[in-house]
Symmetry: C2
Subunit: 197 residues, 2 copies
Amino acid sequence: MTGSRNGVLELAVLGSLHENPLHGYELRKRLNTLLGMFRAFSYGSLYPCLKGLLTDGLIVEEEPPDDVVLGRRSKIVYKLTAEGKERLQELLTQAGPSSWEDESFGIHFAFFRHTEAEVRLRILEGRRSRLEERMENVRTALARTRERLDSYTLELQRHGLESVEREVRWLNELINTERAQADKSQSERDKRPDSDE
Amino acid sequence: MTGSRNGVLELAVLGSLHENPLHGYELRKRLNTLLGMFRAFSYGSLYPCLKGLLTDGLIVEEEPPDDVVLGRRSKIVYKLTAEGKERLQELLTQAGPSSWEDESFGIHFAFFRHTEAEVRLRILEGRRSRLEERMENVRTALARTRERLDSYTLELQRHGLESVEREVRWLNELINTERAQADKSQSERDKRPDSDE
DNA sequence: GAGCGATGTATCGAGCTGATACATCTGAAG
DNA sequence: CTTCAGATGTATCAGCTCGATACATCGCTC
């Protein structure tokens, strides 16, 4: 482990490259599409990250097919190595503050398809507590504030709180769905312990 | 103008100090309460900003009342100078990208009480176009994506888009309210051009 | 055959975050 | 009365990220 990279970015890159090899420009567009309204990565962080992953042997430059060998070297396509896949699995297994903070939750969620059900649940619940904790802080800070706030400030607070409450409800739905699925597949296993399909 | 400070932070600090003098710690808490769920400033940006404002003469350290003179020097209370107030007015008059981006919109909104009606409208409309533009980008990027996305990614997109749509509706309401008030006070002025009460 | 916008790699200065250090004040527990 | 914990308070730093910028190539049109 040479470089101590940004975690979030590392997951984003490894996760994207796992689906199929990409070059920098493409990678950036894809990530920013994937994350939609949540986040945008810049080259200033992407390229250093790729460089670090290269030196750590988690990714390699892909050889172009033989017939294009003629000195052309414009795109640099990266793909995962075995170590890279291992590292990705490791990252996908972690559920901790670094997976439910604002900047990172979106990435982790976007790769839920590759994440174990139990880890998914812990991340969703962690995110929910994080938001609830934040609301609690705001509410008590607000209550301690002596001076009345003007109507614009109040409206801003109200809107902010409402947005977060909505996200919590969204998380609740997701958590319920996850639990239902877990129960279902559990009882499937109970009913017919060794048949599949 | 010695330092080219961060604009947003500058507005935040000058605006807060305009309401009443504060010291660093208090200033930070107040700002983070004010902005609720939107933003949090750190000391690493606050103190350098205060330093810059000091050297530019926009704020000064307030003298403690005489009876506490005895060498005690723990708190450093800052207050606006005349130049600082002028600069604040200037910042409050500007409506531009720097007032409707994610990081800055909240601050500008929080000080709308001190902002002219016309500027308020332009900022709200600018914010709205910004969000609509972003949604447009995401939608076309999504349409261009060949490969179908898995259900988690889709759900993330859906949630993100919905959140932004909600914010646009919120902005619409605010804009309507502002317009109605502007019309009302306009017709007041028309009806009785020189009476006040 | 030249002009142009999209594609593509890469770097840099400015500025922010999160951590950390350190001092003081207050109140509660022993 | 002392001591200890936690809030208050000022301040800095390494590491990282953003936004701008530079520069080259590709494919397209006029």
